[in-house]
């Protein structure tokens, strides 16, 4: 069986776990009690994970245009092919919006963001209160949309593996 290139697989699973981890950490951290042990650390970890994802995502996007497309022989139904294409395309857009709004919000005060006293992230710009609130709204809404998309994506992969019994999922492992 012909698999996806190793780098594609590594990037796929790394970004997948980061996206999921970032969703749940973000979801959880905004409702943390002020006296929680995690009140300071979890947002910092979220920013760290987000920065890591931002770097990987740039790589993913570059490869999207530069890497050779691997064509597989199996024929999926047209509807499956189109759905997969749309879901993939939306992933590229939504995750890009997430990492960009996240970065801009984390550095919205116009100062260098220091994570765990080591990693320094430069601020691109200073943003006003309403701009920060708008970005926050986008970041939150898009995160839910991304999770919906993820459910579709996983459901598709499982359907191919268990119902159609084809190699779609195996190729990515």
């Amino acid at each position: 069986m012909k698999k996806h290139p190793l780098l594609t697989r590594i990037l796929h699973w790394l970004t997948a776990f980061l996206v999921i981890g970032l969703f749940f950490s973000g979801w959880y951290m905004v409702d943390l009690d002020y006296y929680s042990q995690w009140y300071q650390t979890l947002p910092e970890l979220h920013f760290l994970g987000g920065s890591f994802l931002l770097g990987l995502w740039l790589w993913v996007l570059i490869r999207l245009f530069s890497a050779k497309k691997v064509i597989f022989s199996e024929q999926h139904k047209l509807i499956e092919h189109l759905t997969a294409k749309w879901v993939k395309g939306l992933f590229y857009i939504l995750v890009s919006v997430m990492v960009v709004t996240g970065y801009l919000m984390a550095t919205a005060d116009g100062e260098v963001l220091v994570l765990f006293e080591v990693i320094k992230l430069p601020a691109l710009s200073h943003f006003s209160a309403s701009q920060v609130d708008t970005m926050g709204w986008i970041h939150e809404s898009v995160s839910y949309a991304t999770m919906l998309l993820l459910v579709l994506h996983v459901a598709g992969a499982l359907k191919h593996h268990f119902v159609d019994k084809d190699a779609t999922l195996k190729r990515m492992i």
Binding site: D33, A129, D133
Partner: protein, 187 residues
Amino acid sequence: MKILLTLLLFTFANLVAADKYNIDTKGAHAFVQFKISHLGYSWLYGRFDEFSGEFEFDETSPEKASIQMTVQTASVNSNHTARDKHLRGDDFLNVEKYPTATFISKSFIPGENGHGTMVGDLTINGVTNEETLKVEFTGAGNDPWGGFRRGYEATTKITLKDYNIKKSLGPASEKLLLTVTVEGIKQ
């Protein structure tokens, strides 16, 4: 005779009418500030950058003094971008739903040397409570540019829960000290 009487009455009415003062927000000679305890160890200060208001004051009947102010809640500024975002959110000021906070006075009890006590309705987060403010008269007189100014500083302590602000910051941080400093320009 009738005209004369009307004129006289009109003049009299003008004489007893209280002077109107616009709060000098243009020149930023007014401040809406607060301080709240952080963990019980230190004071955190913040302010609202945008607000407006006016007050009326009559030297001959100071008990008639009144004031109304409107604060743009989204202008909360505690010198920390992430904290300000949190303060604007529905854990605290809920600015999307309640973009303004207001104070409308109901009565004034004059004390010594122009000081006094002001009672009025304070509305924050859509909730109105009657609050009593300690008012200090800070000064009044002609300004160097042809106007007349009058200044006060009012303080009060409010309980966040009374305004449906449920987010707990700990037992030492349930109350907030509000200080409003105004300089009014006589109209």
